[in-house]
Amino acid sequence: MTIKEIEQQIVEEFSIFDNWMDKYQYIIDLGKSMPVIAEEGKKDENLIKGCQSRVWLDCREEDGKLYFSADSDAIITKGIISLLIRVYDGHTPQEIIDSEIDFIDAIGLRQNLSPTRANGLVSMLKQIKLYALAFKEKDEENTASGDSEKYSVEEVQKNVIRALKQVFDPEIPVNVYDLGLIYEVKVGEDHSVFIKMTMTSPTCPMADDVVNDVNNAVSDAPGVKSVQIELTFEPEWDESRMSEEARLELGLM
């Protein structure tokens, strides 16, 4: 079922009750029958801020779908979370991010919660979407690095240069590529990357940091499978190796 269909189902269930005490009794029963969260899920980082009662919300991913578990010291709150979980459980991060749920208003829950609890509800919804966003980003990262075949060698070459332009020399406010520190970028058929580079001076105390930064940036570039860096001082670097933009930037032109 889609998120919308589950919402519709809940709205229908609530339409049977003609007064608020019965609706609350139903929410309370939902809260009571909710599976208890594992103790390790009740850690402080899972506590939702902005709720008057204490609410813990945990989330795990299975086959690209998200599953939530939650607990609260207030049973009505727990019942309301169980409704939210029923709506969102088993959906992909993207579906959750795109969803705009309205069952809470449709069953009159929002205006019938005290303002402090209504704020708690907003915080819970926000937390669910934050989880979805975090899992989506994680998935995309996995896809990006695991899916190197979909880029051509030329594209990878461009991606590597783009990444190099994000790494800055610690002493000069210009990126290592425009500074002319990169002597060679070779991308193999298997998307392995070889970089030959230098430092502004052989005694540069930050050399290790710069090489590390280059390694990290290039490894993260889309399509890159592996990175090998060779540090050389032959030939020695001088200002003439800087790009025109870099020289402009430093006021040397």
Partner: protein, 423 residues
């Protein structure tokens, strides 16, 4: 006699329009009076009339409207003076609430404190009688010490403050003692007169937080001999945003101004400014003059509820409410009440804070709301005291003189229903 009771009750309740209102389709049972009280028609009419016919800034202009406004403001000050039996006009300072009144003293009085000095407060304090002192102590290196409750000492579960500790705690390092007249949690009336006498014997001035005390006790600041007494207008049927600080003249004279601005000055030059005499020295800026003026009809209403035949009838009703509530709550073994008078020798006002084992107070309050019953849940701005009972929230039903025994019965019935739903 029953006829007379119901006649008086319906007359009183008829004067407070909000009491015959509805909440969630049910007859409103308003039991959050320790937070704020509902207003009588006299106050409502006054506010509306004053906005129309005498709205002009006070103490400033030459025209008639401004005179009228100033007169109403000063008449209210006089009404407050008489109500608490203060010696003079200069002893009554209008602030924006009890909180501001206490902050004023904590800030200005405590400026002469230094490292090693102590500020003594009670274990049943409201946050507004804790935090201002902590801020003051932080500024000048003084220490805030707390007279614990019997619960904090592990000596009992009544929630009374262990004033027997006072003799050893009132050392010569203590520079001020901040008391609570009636706790907003336990509803117990502290023996402030006796404690003040003990403190004065050692030369220690005393502030009394009267936010609840002013509603339930007849306050005579000269008989009590407190140095400061702080309370809010809205808890005693007046407008919100107005507070009162009573202070003894010699202390108020010595204290520097709290805030600078208009109305609190005598002459201003860029080199040196001299301050207006009391009480205006502490009333910088435009005060909430209409709200403050509402204290006159508000306190007249409080007197009407307190004195004469009506007063006697309502006192009897309060007695019935306290007995009924005490017994009803004690008869449920799952209930623990925070603040019990029995065995303490203290008087209990109709403020009942408690928890039901296994049930969340917020859940109870939410269900009671649907049944038309307005009560408070949470920490009630007294986190240390609630925590001392081993709880992190509680439910509170607080009654005003206009509440009835029938309302207490409805409350207990609805509470039972809510409990059964939740357990």
């Amino acid at each position: 006699m029953e006829d007379n009771r119901s006649k008086i009750l319906s007359e009183v309740r008829g004067m407070v329009p909000a009491l015959s209102g509805k909440m969630n389709g049910e007859n409103l049972v308003y039991l959050d009076n320790a937070a704020t009280t509902q207003k009588p028609i006299q106050v409502l009419d006054f506010l509306c009339d004053a906005m129309v016919h005498s709205n002009a800034n006070v103490h400033r202009s030459m025209y008639e409207l401004s005179d009228k406004s100033t007169t109403l403001y000063e008449e209210a000050r006089e009404k407050v003076r008489v109500f608490i039996n203060a010696p003079g006009r200069e002893n009554i300072i209008f602030t924006s609430g009890t909180t501001t009144s206490i902050n004023l003293v904590a800030d200005t009085f405590c400026r002469c404190l230094g490292p090693g000095d102590e500020i003594l407060i009670e274990g049943d304090s409201h946050h507004s009688n804790i935090v201002p002192w902590q801020l003051a102590a932080e500024r000048n290196g003084a220490v805030v010490r707390v007279i614990p409750t019997d619960v904090m000492l592990g000596r009992g579960r009544s929630g009374r403050v262990a004033f027997e500790m006072l003799d050893q705690m009132l050392s010569n390092r203590v520079k001020i003692l901040a008391l609570t007249h009636i706790s907003n949690i336990t509803g117990l009336v502290n023996p402030v007169g006796e404690i003040i006498a003990k403190a004065h014997a050692k030369g220690i001035p005393v502030l009394v937080d009267g936010a609840q005390g002013i509603v339930h006790e007849k306050v005579d600041v000269q008989a009590m001999d407190c140095d400061f007494y702080a309370f809010s207008a809205h808890k005693i049927y007046g407008a919100t945003g107005v507070g009162i600080l009573y202070g003894k003249t010699e202390l108020l004279e010595k204290m520097p101004p709290y805030m600078g601005g208009g109305d609190m000055v005598e002459t201003v030059t860029y080199g040196k400014t001299t301050y207006a005499p009391l009480p205006l020295k502490f009333e910088a800026g435009t005060p909430n003059f209409i709200g403050a003026a509402s204290l006159k009809p508000a306190l007249e209403f409080a007197e009407y509820l307190r004195d004469g035949e009506v007063g006697r009838a309502l006192k009897e009703e309060e007695g019935r409410i306290v007995s009924f509530m005490t017994e009803a709550l004690a008869s449920d073994p799952d209930v623990e009440v925070y603040g019990t008078a029995s065995g303490t020798g203290l008087k209990k006002t109709p403020i009942f804070t408690f928890n039901i084992k296994g049930v969340n107070a917020g859940d109870l309050a939410q269900l009671l709301d649907k049944m038309g019953v307005a009560v408070r849940s949470g920490l009630m701005c007294a986190e240390p005291l609630i925590n001392s009972f081993g709880a992190n929230s509680a439910l509170r039903a607080s009654f005003a003189p206009y509440n009835t025994l029938e309302e207490a019965q409805v409350f207990i019935k609805c509470l039972q229903r809510a409990k059964n739903m939740l357990l």
